[in-house]
Amino acid sequence: FSTLVVAEHTQKGLHPATLSAINAAKKLQDDICVLVAGSGATEAAQEAAKLQGVSKVLHVDAPAYQYPVADQMANLLVAMQQKSSFASIMGPVSSLLKDVFPRLAGALDVQPLTDVMDIKSSDTFVRPTYAGNAIATVRSKDPVKVFTVRPTSFPTDGLEGGSAPVEPVTPPEGQPMVEFVKEEHAHDDKPQLATAKTVVSGGRGLRSKEGFDTVLDPLCQKLNAAMGASRAAVDAGFVPNDMQVGQTGKVVAPDLYLAVGISGAIQHLAGMKDSKTIVAINKDGEAPIFQVADYGLVADLFEAVPEMTDKVAQ
């Protein structure tokens, strides 16, 4: 039996999440093949070949794979599955694989799994439901397992010293159904909410858009942090929807999460409680956010945050 790991890469190298996925794949105890599909992406394929535990790298090199779209990737994977009958097809959670894997699974008549955080055996997986408030252990009855793994749940190290062959793969003929138009990297200069090491979020306590701009933003700049917000702040119109952290917004797990003027509604906690260190600054000492905070400061945020901004090293 063998496992196919679909690599996330930047053409020039593997994304660290791919290393987590390979460490996860090892738990299945099957041969590991890694698919690197890109335009060029030779460096990424070479990097995959040097990972211990990888038995083969399958390399698709075609201009159409510069910005792959769902149906194109799903068709490629269906063709590869027909040829090689993998026992598992998996990869890290990413916007691409979230798009591709269910489509692939539909073609294979398989119920896929999203966000696997532990692998108990070749058919038994652990995954979060209800935004991590209920952890489910499930057994898949499908002949092929199609799943994404949560990169933060598996290590990225311990993979040095491999030497696997790189085999070119010819992708199936045909035009993708979807045409790629463009990609905008909205705030290239600022850390992205989903991947930032530090996140500073504001709630209704900030009182206005100006509160976010004049109180929170300077601290974000000093800490090189991404700015987030509670649903209450979004609903009040202080900040746009895409800044929302929570069950119905973005789920984040940075090294440091600062909740400023956020009371800690259940749905907000669901979106940030896996952060390594949580700090809460709030006037109301009884706010539920303090129950999950490693360090709570009961203070007026309009005084405490500027003071903190002053005292934090650049």
């Binding site: 269910p102 699974a105 439901t129 979807v178 990609e183 360090y295 934090v312 090293a313």
Partner: protein, 256 residues
């Protein structure tokens, strides 16, 4: 042009879910249920497309127990024209799984012949984020997931969709018919007002026994256990900004 919009009834986002002591699942009895927030965004988008004259009819579909009619009534109150409930007693957060839902929706697509199927990007109960993609794959239609903006061309033969992806915003161009799953930034759903809820009672809502559609709905994933996550040890307080910064630097070591 007709569109289908899929709607799921889930535990309300503001409710703290409780895992049952026997680890068989999450407690659903006497819990406030609501339309999945991402489905609300999908319904809102459909209603706006109707208001703009892009759509002539918006049909809401839900798979679930009798009570899912509540969410369909909400969709009707928001502006959908009619609704279909594919009734099943399978638990929709565990037993009725996305693969089966996609198969049921495919049957509705074949019956209703829409040019667009709108869905939320994910349901906040099982957090699978799969149904739209599964459906698109089964239909052989193009798909656009995580949509934050839709722009139909004037001939209504295609749509440009802006998507929320890891790197930022991506725009793709699709021909109709297609499947679109909606992300947070697409719109702010309207409230279903009481007068509109009253009016919605007069709109047609058809109930179909899901089992009669000849689809294999049996769960492919067997739930062995559902447990609470490990508790977080929080609750420590500091007295000043200086003490906070000291702890972050020297204890948590997350600041330089």
């Amino acid at each position: 042009m007709r569109a289908l919009v899929a709607v799921k009834r889930v535990i309300d986002y503001a409710v703290k879910v409780r895992v049952k002591p026997d680890k068989s699942g999450v407690e659903l009895n006497n819990i406030k249920m609501s339309m999945n927030p991402f489905c609300e965004i999908a319904v809102e988008e459909g209603v706006r497309l109707k208001e703009a004259g892009t759509l002539s009819e918006l049909v809401a579909v839900s798979c679930g127990p009798d009570k899912s009619q509540e969410s369909l009534r909400q969709a009707l109150a928001m502006g959908a024209d009619r609704a279909i409930l594919l009734k099943t007693d399978y638990r929709t957060d565990m037993e009725l799984q996305p693969l089966a839902v996609a198969k049921l929706l495919k049957k509705m697509v074949e019956k209703e012949d829409p040019m667009v199927v709108l869905l939320g990007k994910q349901a906040i109960d099982d957090d699978s984020n799969q149904t739209g993609q599964l459906l698109a794959g089964m239909l052989g239609w193009p798909q656009a997931t995580f949509a934050s903006k839709l722009a139909f061309n004037s001939g209504l033969t295609g749509v440009d969709v802006t998507r929320e992806v890891d790197a930022g915003l991506q725009t793709i161009s699709l021909k109709l018919p297609c499947v679109v799953t909606c992300d947070l930034r697409l719109n702010q759903p309207r409230y279903a007002t009481l007068p509109n809820l009253m009016k919605a009672k007069k709109k047609p809502l058809e109930v179909v026994d899901a089992a009669s559609l000849g689809v294999d709905m049996s769960p492919r994933l067997e739930y062995l256990s559902v447990e609470e996550p490990p508790k977080r040890e929080g609750g420590r307080k500091v007295d000043s900004v200086d003490e906070l910064l000291d702890k972050l630097r020297n204890e948590a070591k997350v600041l330089a």
